[in-house]
């Protein structure tokens, strides 16, 4: 399973979730598969997708907030896992697509092959931590993690999705929206009645 295949499984299960995307191919693949109004594409500020998502989740506790993160991003801001574990937002689901490389810059290895990011999440205080390695496991996990109402949960959840890096170079479009337009739409989606 590569990133595009994993995203194709997750996206239909999102419903009205607000989704903060890490930069690079995670934003670009998701944008090209389905450009949802509730998608925030972080085109720079590597590492901060989970921080942005936490800021939304704490202030909109009734909304599901999802992070599409990557292993390189998580390794760059591991303190964010610690803060999410400390704050315990019930409405936050943190998905990490872990291909063990910096995919957008030419597949240079990250160090996630040596670091169990799910174990870091568990130690940080995420209450529901899972790891999946194939499409069937992913399908089952997203149903269980994304379907429930946030009020039925005990705290933040974490799903480590182990994927294959794309060996061929991906010729995939960049985000065509202006950054300020992304903010306007995302804020509209936040304020929509659901």
């Amino acid at each position: 399973m590569n990133l595009a295949q994993a995203l194709s499984i997750v996206i239909p299960a999102l419903q009205d979730a607000l989704v903060v995307h890490a930069n690079g191919f995670i934003s670009r693949e998701s944008f090209n598969l389905e450009d949802r109004l509730g998608n925030f594409y972080m085109i720079g500020s590597m590492g901060l997708a989970s921080s942005i998502a936490l800021g939304v989740a704490l202030n909109k506790p009734e909304r599901r907030v999802v992070v599409f993160d990557g292993d390189g991003n998580v390794l760059m801001n591991m303190g964010s896992l610690a803060l999410i574990g400390t704050q315990q937002p019930r409405n936050l689901v943190h998905l990490v697509f872990d291909n063990e490389v910096y995919g957008s810059t030419g597949n240079q290895p990250t160090i996630s092959s040596h670091v169990a990011l799910d174990a870091v999440a568990h130690a940080s205080g995420y209450v529901d931590v899972r790891r999946v390695e194939d499409a069937d496991q992913l399908r089952a996990a997203v149903q269980e993690l994304l379907a429930p109402d946030p009020s039925e949960k005990n705290g933040p959840s974490f799903l480590l999705v182990k994927i294959e890096p794309d060996r061929e170079e991906r010729h995939i479009g960049r985000i065509t929206h202006e950054p300020q337009h992304i903010v306007r739409r995302f804020m509209e989606a936040i304020n929509q009645d659901i």
Partner: protein
């Protein structure tokens, strides 16, 4: 000197309602007040605090990010590739270590370049004084509204404790 509770009250009166950051001894009293009243989120890094504030703003809050000027160095990419280009405002309350060249060695260079660094980033700022604190906070509030970008209040030693 303005007490911690007074300082926080001025910020709250101006509409600020979400506080995060990384501590500095120059704002000990301010942080103690915020922690006591709840609602202050102790971040692990200053750039993560800028990210957290960005999310809080989009969810309807008026955020303040508190940091030492050393932390402004940590924030350069978060400010330039997130807050400034997406137009996500937050009040940066930046303490001025290395003020007038008098401080521990690690603060001297950043203390010297702080105003130039903010100008280079095109982040509007004012240096706080006890007598004009409320005016400066009022200026920051209207500048944040006008520009929809980060605005800084720089806090030298001796204004609050």
């Amino acid at each position: 000197m303005v007490s911690g509770p007074q300082f926080v009250q001025h910020l709250r009166n101006a509409g600020f309602d979400f506080f995060t950051g990384v501590p500095c001894s120059l704002v000990k009293g301010v942080l103690a007040t915020l922690e006591e009243r709840g609602g202050y989120i102790a971040e692990t890094r200053e750039d993560a605090a800028v990210g957290l504030a960005a999310g809080a703003y989009m969810a309807g809050r008026q955020p303040v990010v508190i940091m030492q000027n050393s932390g402004l160095g940590v924030c350069l990419n978060a400010l330039s590739s997130l807050s400034l280009i997406y137009a996500l405002p937050c009040l940066l309350l930046i303490t001025w270590r290395g003020y007038q060249g008098k401080d521990a060695p690690e603060h001297i260079i950043m203390g010297d370049i702080l105003p130039d660094l903010l100008s280079t980033l095109k982040i509007p700022y004012r240096v706080l004084e006890e007598q004009t604190l409320e005016d400066a906070i009022g200026w920051a509030t209207s500048t944040l509204k006008q520009t929809s970008r980060p605005t800084a209040l720089v806090l030298p030693p001796g204004v609050t404790a």
